[in-house]
Symmetry: C3
Subunit: 418 residues, 3 copies
């Protein structure tokens, strides 16, 4: 439970807000690389951390990212001409390059010096992991580019699905690190005798340089525990693993899954769901990816326009009450949809002053503590955790079957990804 | 005419507002009983007095009414499982019974005492008159259930039509107790030589324990008056009678009509229109009900989705200017539609500081006075009129043809409903 | 660049605002005469300077203009009966004439004096130039009716096209007096070797009693200048001329074009585009008008409902990126659409504190200065420029081909409209 003031402090991401300043210490996913089209193609509107921006793919294929409005008379640069060396405003022909410099000002006398005095706000971009990333923070403290594993594997080993979620980013993220809800909300087969398959017996975790590391520990009832690692990487990344089935037999293709909640603004988010294959010799195959995405309700047929699921607030996420009565805990199809249904209908910004947190919410409490401390850290002029990729670059997730007397952290240290 | 401050005081109904506190002294219609479906059926969203709630029909058929959000992490209970003994949140499986107690908390350790410390806001309900009623006030001052006549007659004698009205409740109610407008707005036959049929010669009334009682007195021009009673019952009920035609011949089926404006919030209302037959041996018949509802523009074909009339603001209530020119004062079909057209287009909350009230508005002034006094009464910790059904349970409406020298109150005392 | 406070001062037009008071010194276009229909026809909703009004065409054909709400109980007069001598509210039958006097109050006792005490807000109207004009200012300072040339020519010599623009009026007006943008935004043929056809070599202007007068001077490169006059008439009128082509040969039909941005409220405007033929013996012909309107993207097929262009924000004004790449600077069809696209997407009220104005913006700076000074003038209780039509009635626009050493003002003085 937070005070209303803390709730604002932890959720708001606009320019100048405490958490907005935290977010601006990191590279943030801007859009899918495929959204930008070809070199010199049409500019694309993007909203990130409450800022309206225009992305454009330059002649050399590098991505420019500038304020959505021309500094001259605030005409919309969306209509601009993406020409060699930059983006030209169609109102009076002013042209800006990727660095924000004005490189042409044809409406002024040729001898004018005004051109050298005008710049447009511009942010650096970086492409990796099928995404274009942007850094919206102060130029002098720009960190090295992201070093997530999924960014470094070849495209054959990776799948990314983008999704609009119409609520504050933190609601989504809190769901992702909350292992406990899976056994309830995502229980799609009530007829199974045991819910063990999903619901952990307990959750353990610890603070790390990059955020949180922990495990969901499932007691199998035969003297063994199934220990599954999860990790939170500051500020918006959640990772989970499944390389083993319950029996201890490795699944066909060992994968790690991640989710990133990128704040569009305080009330809407992009959710990037990704998975990647951890063994260099075992790329993802189409059938596996399709089956996984279908299970999560994020197959190609599940989407309407604008990366928005067809199961949406307007149709109550197509809840099937008969299915809910007889077979599925939620009656809603697809695990992503189940999360989004609950989180969107909490309201655009959850009022955390009205919660009643319990023992099982300790991870959520730790997440909030880490974020509020990061806000303090940034206010002191220091770097928050994981702003430097070195903080998380070595993180590996694993799962193991071990004797129930073994400590979870020891167990995970021994489990090595194949 | 009210000051802007008085206008807020008399119209706002949210928790903690003066009129909201008045409204919370009474049982309020929550929804039609038929809206809830079968036992253990799907939960239903309801908004009442600015509060978002979930209604559910329990295993025993009794109706539960709880906060729309789980007290744990504010997940929407609309998606909840309506199971034996209560409603279970699908996020983490917490379950609440009708009293608001948490009866299961499976996400916590079995020995946790937290369950006994958590409750969800829950309100009592009562079923009667084809409606489910709810009481949103303090538990200790809960009044006996409603004792309106229409609640007590058998279903064969009663008809209720629910209607969405997109403006503050008081605008609707003020129209209902304003007998004078009928002769204008509801005059659907300009060719009649006399408008006597509708417009009263004068309106008389007096304050009562339950609100207001009065009569519209129509001078017939032959030495006789046609005296029709009307009554206002605190805080949102209006009743009218027609048992006689103008000739003195009783209509086929003597009925009393009522209207209740239930505040959804400050800007939208449910209007419940009901009529009931007053003679135990004469139930309503289908043809009569259909004709009456058609006349008022509230037949089955008049509605779109969500109890909203098809004649609406977007289509100017289908006003027919040629009809208005030649035959109908308003050019709008249906008396309910005529009222709703004017009242919705006054704006969501009428600005009563800009009015110019006249002699004919004395009933409206008295209504406002009664309501503002009720707000004072409640602030003093006392009960407003009609909070106890004993205040209105004996009220009977009638109409009579009498010599024009007879006092209206005497006339009504002598008129006895058959 | 203005301060945020100056930006509010110059843009807001509601009752009591500084610029609202300026606007209320002038007759403003209310609607097209054709919108009102026949005598005693249906009343029409109008919103002007943030005020909701009802216009109605009386029995004698004169136009009444009153508050949208009856002074009695604020019922919407839109549903009113347009009867002989006035508009009758359908709620209680009160009737008002064009002057705002209550001429019938049938719901009150016959001997009531209340009728003489109640008025509805009413504004004078005047018809001219195919428009109905309204004056919303203080009765005592009402100026003579508009004396624009286009108002005085016969209908055969005039064409007016009305258009909704969803942004503050000043954004539109600033575009109209900004000659420089034409050579960029409106350059629809990139293949032309020279952009001289549109872009002026320089712009000169001076303050006048009526606002601004100036010229766009195009250097032809042969020792001659093509000098085209433009004029700004307070508070919302822009005029341009083209009687000559670049070669010096007169166009077939010499015309002057004007644009008026009428504030509906602070965030939406009506744009009236007009042209008129300047030679009494040469009326406009249909083919010429159709071609001109098509060129500007304002032909009959370009409109959806409510005078709104089909090319709109929702469809990105149907920008054609391939066309933009190969042929048209903007890729948007129609000069009006090009302007509206940019101006609407600046946001409903442009934030002028974020601009970077250059040498070429001197006319815009002068326009703002004139408007802010007018606000000061009105606050001192004096009349702003052009409130009296005598200030602008003699204004004639012309264009001339002259030796490049000739002063623009001298050149225009010599150019006489044929």
């Amino acid at each position: 439970m937070l005070t209303p003031r803390e709730n604002l402090r932890i959720t708001q991401v606009g320019p100048g807000t405490p958490m907005g300043n935290v977010m601006r210490c990191y590279w943030q996913p801007l859009l899918l690389a495929e959204e930008l089209g070809e070199a010199d193609g049409a500019p694309v509107r993007v909203r990130l951390l409450g800022e309206d921006l225009i992305a454009f793919c330059g002649t050399d294929g590098a991505v420019g990212l500038v304020d959505a409005y021309c500094p001259h008379r605030r005409a919309p640069l969306f209509f601009g001409r993406n020409e060699e060396r930059g983006l030209r405003c169609v109102y009076h022909g002013w042209k800006f390059d990727r660095s924000g410099a004005c490189v042409d000002m044809p409406s002024e006398p040729p001898d004018s010096l005004f051109k050298s005095k005008v710049t447009v706000t511009a942010y650096p971009t970086w492409e990796g992991g099928g995404l274009v990333w942007a850094y919206l923070g102060p130029r002098e403290s720009r960190p090295p580019p992201p070093a997530f594993d999924f960014v470094r594997v070849p495209p054959t080993h990776r799948n990314v699905v983008k999704m609009l979620q119409e609520n504050n980013w933190l609601q989504g993220l809190e769901g992702a690190i909350d292992s406990v809800h899976s056994g309830f909300l995502h229980n799609d087969d009530l007829r199974e005798k045991s819910q063990l398959r999903n619901a952990p017996a307990r959750v353990e975790f610890e603070r790390t340089a990059h955020g949180l590391a922990g495990a969901a520990i499932h007691a199998l009832g035969d003297g063994r525990n199934y220990v599954r690692a999860f990790t939170y990487i500051m500020p918006t990344h959640s990772l989970r693993v499944r390389t083993l089935g319950r029996t201890g037999a490795p699944e066909e293709i060992p994968t790690i899954s991640g989710q990133i909640w990128v704040p569009i603004d305080d009330r809407t988010s992009w959710l990037y769901n990704y998975m990647y294959a951890t063994r260099p010799d075992r790329p993802l195959n189409v059938a596996f990816v399709d089956a996984r995405n279908a299970l999560y309700g994020r197959g190609p047929d599940d989407f309407g326009a604008g990366y928005r699921l067809k199961r949406s607030r307007e149709n109550d996420y197509m809840i099937d009450r008969e299915l809910q009565r007889t077979r599925s805990f939620s009656g809603i199809k697809g695990m992503n949809t189940q999360d989004i249904a609950l989180q969107e209908c909490m309201g655009p910004v959850l009022d955390r002053s009205k919660e009643h947190l319990a023992h099982s919410d300790r991870v959520i409490i730790a997440l909030r503590k880490a974020l509020l401390e990061a806000a303090d850290t940034v206010e002191r002029g220091e770097r928050p955790g994981a702003a430097d990729p070195a903080d998380y670059a070595g993180v590996r997730l694993t799962d193991v079957l071990v004797d129930e007397r073994v400590d979870w952290a020891d167990a995970l240290r021994e489990g090595v990804l194949r």
